[in-house]
Symmetry: C2
């Protein structure tokens, strides 16, 4: 089992768009289970696919079990078993000695850009890129499983209802 | 994806006990999900472990996606995420040109012995060993996920309640 130690931030679209970056990779991901206690995800990326089981987040740490699976089977699993799905383009880029993953969401989550940094320990010190804004680590609304169920473009409707 | 085509039979304990057989393998298996539409199972066997996703059974055919995973991770997945578990000893033995898998259940399913044969097509003809009794293919009570939830030794109590 891996222990993910991650912090998550919102990204300013204008600053991000004017940043030089590598090519992104389109991710299609669906959830077979979206319990808070247990998330089971199938992720399809260009040329690779993964089945991932994640447990409950404690602070910024989350247990994660990830297995690579054949791309064709990932498509079948998504089509047969996913209760909800989302898509996004992921950019992976270095900043100040660390790797940032920036997810530009599409579909019903268009408009949302989120950056994540994986840390070696919970108290590790790191530098923030200029395009990063508010920290949202631990904010359940930004969990990908929740974004698949309650997409970003519908949040204002959720609030007014 | 594999398509499982299987038929399942009850086994007479006395006839089975007096049959010559190879050594059995103890299986510990737990279910992360037990929906009828979708079963997600972790199976721990001597030296190997598997994560398996099965869909809905149609006739004697069931879609199955199986991935080998590290034994240590299987134990962790069972301990963290299994909603229900069972254990059994599996015997694998040839009969009349086909392979039979005989599961002698233990724990709360003690007393139940079930034999399965995997077929190449739904209408394949095969011979029945002498220790086989009633066919239970498609009887949901004998699905392993259901035996984990509603163990065999409690069936009479379930009926009388």
């Amino acid at each position: 089992m891996a222990q993910e130690i991650e912090r998550k931030f919102l990204v300013d679209a204008q600053a991000w768009n004017s940043t030089e970056k590598p090519a992104g990779a389109v991710f299609r991901q669906g959830y077979l289970v979206t319990d808070p206690q247990k998330t089971i995800r199938v992720r399809l990326t260009p040329g690779k696919a993964f089945l991932t089981i994640k447990g409950l987040t404690t602070g910024v740490t989350r247990p994660e079990f990830e297995y690579e699976i054949p791309v064709t089977e990932a498509t079948e699993l998504l089509n047969r078993f996913a209760v909800t799905e989302l898509s996004k383009t992921r950019y992976t880029l270095p900043f100040a000695g660390k790797i940032w993953e920036v997810d530009v969401f599409s579909g019903t989550n268009t408009g949302l850009i989120v950056a994540e940094i994986e840390l070696d320990s919970e108290d590790e010190v790191f530098a923030l890129p200029g395009w990063v804004t508010l920290e949202v680590t631990g904010d359940a609304r930004y969990y990908n499983a929740n974004l698949a169920l309650h997409p970003y473009t519908l949040w204002s409707q959720d609030l007014s209802s």
